[in-house]
């Protein structure tokens, strides 16, 4: 089966962009080993999301009598992710990518497993809210970006691997949920929690990538600790100008840009 698909996959993924004779990146191993915990973390998180989403209508029909409650559960989850992403990103700068990723994965272990044992819709809302709060994605992206250093092409390659792992995780979760059905809801959520536990253990035994640019900047500015300045949470008065600039630049370009991006992307008819 795999032998049949391998040439097809090769043709679709690689053929349009380069031939085997002309190798753009000469490195034999494209993915540095330090990226793997982040890829595993994102795959586990999306696996959990992909598993629960198609089965939620059945859960709500069983415990609330209609599928109308699906919106509440999903809203609670998105609310958690909205606050969780910012918090996890901030924490990853403060206590390190590895520690943050481990905390987020520990939360995933608990709340992904609990999802399988919940029997009421309000409880499910609370559990999914916390599952969303412990999203590891911001720390995972920061991890893969740090692993590539300042080389933009390497960062793009790592970001591609991150996106690929997320897509594969989501597709696997949705396929597992769809094939095994609602009868295996509890078991599958426990399996999802076990995956998160595996990712947690793997992260524990992995090395965190260094943050090269932050070290350079701290050396330039003679700052004793690299944790002293932050554009969103500044600690020094001299950073006010920088804060205003980051707010204007990032707000206008990144935030509204990405908001409209996501509005468009999430509206697949």
């Amino acid at each position: 089966m795999l032998c049949t698909f391998k040439p097809l996959l090769y043709f679709v993924m690689y053929r349009p962009f380069y031939s085997p004779k002309k190798v753009i990146n000469p490195q034999p191993n494209d993915t540095p080993p330090t990226v793997k915990p982040a890829l595993l973390g994102s795959a586990v998180d999306y696996f959990g999301l992909g598993l629960v989403t198609p089965l939620l209508p059945f859960f709500c029909t069983e415990f609330a009598g209609s599928v109308d409650s699906v919106g509440y559960v999903l809203s609670a989850q998105y609310l958690g992710v909205i606050f969780g992403s910012a918090a996890v990103g901030y924490l990853s700068d403060r206590i390190g990518r590895k520690n943050t990723l481990m905390i987020a994965l520990a939360g995933d272990v608990i709340f992904f497993s609990l999802t399988g044992f919940v029997k009421t819709v309000p409880t499910m809302c609370v559990v999914r809210l916390f599952a969303g709060l412990f999203t590891p994605l911001a720390a995972c992206i920061a991890w893969v970006q740090d692993a590539a250093g300042n080389d933009e092409l390497a960062r793009a390659k790592n970001q591609g691997y991150f996106g690929g792992s997320a897509v594969i995780g989501f597709m696997s979760g949705a396929a597992a949920g769809g094939i095994l059905g609602y009868s295996s809801f509890t078991a599958m959520n426990c399996v999802c929690g076990a995956f998160a536990l595996f990712a947690l253990v793997y992260t524990f035994f992995s090395l965190e990538p260094t943050r090269p640019h932050s070290e350079q900047v701290s050396k330039f500015h003679s700052i004793p600790s690299p944790l002293t300045t932050n554009p969103f949470f500044p600690s020094g008065k001299s950073r006010k100008l920088r804060v205003s600039r980051i707010l204007s630049k990032t707000s206008i370009s990144s935030r509204w840009l990405s908001l409209t991006l996501w509005l468009g992307a999430s509206l697949q008819p």
Partner: protein
Amino acid sequence: MMEQFGYVEYQVSLCLISTTFFHLVIMVNLARLMKIFKTGTNLIVMSYVAAVISHVGFLFDPAYHTDLITASLFMFATLCLPLGMSCANVIAPNIADVFGTNARGSTLGILRTVFNIGQALGPSYGVILYKAGGWGGEGILANGGLFFAIQACMLLLSCGCLLRTWGFEKNEVIKKKHQKEIEIEIEV
């Protein structure tokens, strides 16, 4: 939409599977694409343009009768998801490095937050547009109605925001900015 256009399950599955697989292909080849198109911002602009063209294509596709055309339009209409989001994630650390220290995580966290706000607002916004214009508008907008027209306009408006991200692409620019800031601080 399924009822209105007489879609059956396999056609919807075809669109979703082809779109997801297309996203995977794009993700795997992101670095090569960035090498070809030089900068991430160029890629985002390209994805916007492709999405706008696809939305306009949806406007004038009155029957959605050809599976291949519809699936292709679907794929390119959602191109801003793998390309735009990934390139924004690649550009964001540059912005964080220019304006802060050790701030990549916070910046990416805020970016993820914004993505999720958009994702959470999307369904409600779609329902509002559906109730306002529906899929089956008459006249010049054919069957696509208000929905695809507004989507295309929003994507075009977003292109204006990209002007501010140009210049944060290359590390040389970042180094120059850092050197200038350091010189200013020394002078002060």
